[in-house]
Symmetry: C2
Subunit: 126 residues, 2 copies
């Protein structure tokens, strides 16, 4: 919890962690339906509807209808959204670099391995 609060503060202005996370999913998975995004982010469909509306509002994503199934709304990053994501990464990296600079190579490697393991745990969780 401490870490989350800390990171939220460090992200500072601009865009929330959830927004950046959603952009990240879209970036790595390509276009997604809202349900797919909800699933990827581990949040409810209604919440994603709201989040997507905000992203659309800021011009970070675009919606497109699926021609074969008119219930589906597929969204994808706009160039602007990609830019925001990249900038956020740069800013976040600057912060992390400062903090992680106090670690030695062995410790960094441990964190890297741990990240892979945790990612796998989360991915396979239902």
């Amino acid at each position: 919890m401490r870490t989350v609060r800390r990171l939220r503060k460090e992200t500072d202005g601009e865009h929330s962690v959830s927004v950046i996370a959603a952009l990240g999913s879209l970036n790595s998975h390509g276009p997604l339906t809202l349900s797919e995004l909800a699933d990827a982010e581990g949040m409810s469909r209604p919440s994603v509807t709201v989040l997507a509306a905000a992203l659309l509002d800021h011009g970070l994503i675009a919606k497109e209808a699926d021609p074969s199934d008119r219930r589906l709304v597929r969204i994808h990053l706009t160039p602007s959204g990609k830019r925001v994501l990249d900038q956020s990464r740069t800013r976040r990296n600057a912060f992390l670099a400062k903090r992680l600079g106090t670690l030695n190579v062995e410790e960094l490697r441990t964190l890297d391995r741990a990240a892979s393991i945790l990612l796998r745990l989360v991915e396979t969780s239902r």
Copy 2:
């Protein structure tokens, strides 16, 4: 974020992550003033006031005045609070055990080392 949302859901009813975290701080550090707790949890004093009021309401902590400085409010775990903390750990451990069971010893060791490193990072942050 995914992990946080997941854990929040998994903690299920009973008490929130923040509550348990606060109880944990009190358990490991002993009695704390509200400001000290705010500092330990990385949250603002007003937020801690509210949190502490909730804990008091549930009988998980007790307040005591500092005789030498009457501005200070020192809080400590009640037996009931200790019990809740222990139960939460048991429940959380059951969940983690199920999930971590899929990892081998080497991976578990990596996570353990990573946890120490991250804890150190957070502790030394500001």
